[in-house]
Symmetry: C2
Subunit: 224 residues, 2 copies
DNA sequence: ACTAATTTTTAGATTTGTCTAAATTTTAAT
DNA sequence: ATTAAAATTTAGACAAATCTAAAAATTAGT
């Protein structure tokens, strides 16, 4: 029986980052990519890669990169589940706004108590998505892949519903608030400008021109 | 302007322990006492005492012990406030029992977000006492000294209300549950046995004989 | 007041997680 | 295919928080 039960906060952060960079399903993630994402140095990543490999959490091929093992994926999903449930809690129960939740959830996701997160889940009535529209992994490790797409890829005259964001920076989220674009809003693509790929979109009560950069950071789901 | 804003988790635990051992109000607390309480070694306490003294959080007299400065007391109250509010949250909102809350609250008390704890406070409608009957420090640093006393000190035939416990171990709390002694219960002292100082007490629906050790770990408030 | 016992501190070592700088490997370019 | 550039790893160092063992100071006993 391997003793995989002591995972430090730092280790958890690495696991989460590797998952977000696509390191489940045997895709090797480069040391540099992890270092950049975590704002640390590549040599630190190498050190941690070895330690996580020893614990059976990642597969590490020298000079090639790392990916999560089955155990690692499970651990990652558990952390992401906690993070997203806490985000829902902060928004639904404590009236935090979109852009305020991330920083606090980064801390709360490391609290070690199975009972705690299960009770939070129940209190929130088992939500399926977090405030950014990202799916919440199940207690059993199930993970719903969402059929969302970027607004920039939606065809002309299609009607879609805003379900999330790619860029989660406060700057971007504040821009959305200012322009009255919120989760669940209906968006129709009226025009696509060939010159700069900007979009003219129609919201509930107003029309709006948005740049390609904006459109390629907004996730939507097309209605059938 | 002193930079007192980086306090590590470990430092917070020392601050809290010193406070609980009576180290506010310039009473010097011995290195050994702190070490015993925290299940660490005296030499580690000395190291930390120096560090906290450098930061202006404790006053440290070599070979004599430490006590909290004004800044230290403030910091301690802030941690205790968080700890107790989280305990109320766990019991009131997530149906945790008396004996389950402490361990989780020990983790939650270190979450750094003023807004978070203020919103939790509001969600709970600004409680004054935690589930063990201990008062919750105010946001402004006010701290209600409770006029509670040990059941073992209550005179014969007086009626008192159970407001808290001194020993917070699961063993003790489970004993209380089993004998149907709960927070808010009315207790009358019927007899005091001279031989072993055990007490015969009267509860709502039953009488019960309890040892001195039990009685000296139960806090009550006498009704006027 | 003078030992003896206890408490506290110092000095040096350990672990975790990080860093810098140098060495090595891989990738890309001509 | 050889070399230049980029990425990665190694080696050695450092800070935080802890420990052990030895030295120093305080307290207590007679």
């Amino acid at each position: 029986m391997p003793k995989l039960f002591l995972v430090t906060r730092s280790e958890e952060n690495y696991i989460k980052t590797i998952f977000h960079l696509g390191g489940s399903s045997s895709t090797l993630i480069a040391t540099n990519a992890i270092a950049e994402q975590m704002e640390t140095k590549p040599s630190s990543v190498t050190d941690m890669a070895k330690k996580l490999a020893d614990k059976g959490i990642v597969y590490y091929k020298k000079y090639q990169g790392v990916c999560l093992t089955d155990i690692g994926v499970k651990k990652a999903l558990s952390i992401i589940r906690k993070h997203r449930l806490w985000e829902v809690f902060l928004v639904e129960k404590l009236d935090f706004t979109w852009d305020e939740v991330h920083e606090v959830a980064e801390q709360l996701e490391h609290i070690k108590s199975e009972k705690l997160i299960d009770r939070i889940d129940a209190l929130l009535e088992f939500p399926k998505y977090d405030p950014h529209g990202d799916p919440i992994p199940g207690k059993d490790g199930t993970f719903l892949k969402q059929d969302k797409q970027l607004l920039s890829e939606v065809p002309l005259n299609k009607v879609a519903v805003c379900v999330g964001v790619k860029d989660t920076s406060p700057t971007f989220l504040k821009f959305l608030d200012k322009n009255k674009i919120a989760l669940g809003d209906t968006i129709e693509v009226l025009e696509k400008e060939e010159f700069d790929h900007s979009l003219l979109i129609k919201l509930a009560n107003h029309e709006l021109s948005i740049s390609h950069q904006i459109a390629s950071n907004l996730y939507v789901k097309i209605n059938y």
